[in-house]
């Protein structure tokens, strides 16, 4: 009994440690920025220089600028990339992310719009200039489901949670959760590092 309590305590502590420092949260409803946005301070940098850094960042990383979602003091870009292999997550996962960067002198405020697609049947996904996703040969694929009914657990190996008929939610795939959190946190870390560097 003592051993079980100790193991549960250890798991709880480990989860808390992993959650610390994460800009994103991942639960049964999805993955999202914990405070809806992240602010990066760049003291002493003029508005124009901040803008130039954002534009060169998008160019260097080969992301796609989204003029339709951009405007005065706002630059948006899109990234569409495979974020987990089927062999690791149970299904190939593709992330379509649109980042909105509001900027001014010495500051950038980042917001994110996230969509994850699951390609369980090996569909090769493509994206067009309107940010819409399809599969080559129309092979089945779908929006990623963070939670599935418990009786569908085997059919959706990539789902992080299952829920019972009584509504009880259980975690079944912590690996996918940690993979997604790591994947999204890297975007923020990368931007923080890039924008803060003296170029």
């Amino acid at each position: 009994m003592k051993k079980i309590v100790a193991i549960y305590t250890l798991i709880a502590v480990a989860n808390t440690c992993l959650a610390q420092g994460s800009q994103f949260a991942c639960d049964e409803s999805g993955i999202y920025l914990i405070n809806k946005s992240v602010t990066i301070s760049l003291p002493g940098l003029s508005r124009d220089r901040v803008k130039q850094r954002i534009l060169s960042f998008i160019r260097d990383r080969q992301y796609t600028t989204r003029p339709f979602y951009s405007g005065y003091n706002l630059i948006s870009f899109r990234d569409f990339v495979k974020c987990c292999e089927k062999s690791n997550c149970g299904s190939d996962l593709f992330a379509k992310n649109i980042f909105y960067l509001n900027y001014d002198s010495g500051v950038i405020k980042i917001k994110a719009e996230i969509e994850i697609y699951s390609s369980f049947y090996g569909a090769e996904l493509i994206i067009n200039g309107n940010d819409d996703v399809a599969s080559k040969g129309d092979v089945p694929f779908a929006l990623y489901e963070f939670q599935v009914p418990e009786q569908y657990s085997a059919e959706y190996p990539e789902a992080i949670y299952t829920f019972s008929k009584k509504g009880k939610i259980k975690m079944k795939n912590p690996y996918v959760q940690q993979t997604l959190l790591g994947f999204y946190n890297r975007y923020i870390t990368d931007m923080e590092t890039y924008f803060a560097a003296d170029r």
Partner: protein, 147 residues
């Protein structure tokens, strides 16, 4: 003779019953797997339709107009964009109304009755496509939907 038949039934039950839950699980498992496949196939097909139309993003509006013909609406936005709208209206009705009846005897007692059945339906919606263009007449964004 009865004893032989009873014994045969008991033996059959002992042998067959353990296999039954396994077969049921397998059947429902296959159904669930098929359900996932069907659901995702429908999604892939609907995404393809959307993808085909919205792939005009990035093209010149002139090319779209040459292919699609005249637009049904055009408006200028304060941010300098121009929106070209194409609309198609769909309306109609169908189904059948079958009246019900009540049969009573001379004393007014109900001896037979049937409720009316109304399977009629009607629809009226407009499908729209909006093409947002910048000052260089390039399509930046496509919105589709119904209203």
């Amino acid at each position: 003779m009865n004893i032989i038949i009873r014994s045969a039934v008991i033996v059959f039950c002992i042998v067959a019953f353990p296999a039954l839950p396994e077969a049921q699980t397998l059947a429902s498992k296959n159904t669930r797997a098929q359900a996932r496949y069907n659901k995702e196939k429908l999604f892939a097909d609907s995404q393809r339709k959307l993808f085909t139309v919205t792939s005009w993003a990035g093209a010149a509006i002139g090319d779209l107009l040459a292919s699609w013909g005249n637009y049904t609406g055009k408006s200028e936005l304060p941010n300098g964009m121009t929106v070209y709208t194409f609309e198609s209206r769909y309306s109609g009705s169908g189904g059948r109304y079958t009246p019900g009846y009540i049969v009573t005897d001379q004393s007014g007692n109900v001896v037979a009755q049937k409720a009316a059945k109304d399977n009629t339906y009607s629809y009226d919606f407009t499908e729209y496509y909006e093409f947002y263009t910048d000052k260089s007449q390039r399509i930046l964004h496509v919105k589709t939907g119904t209203r």
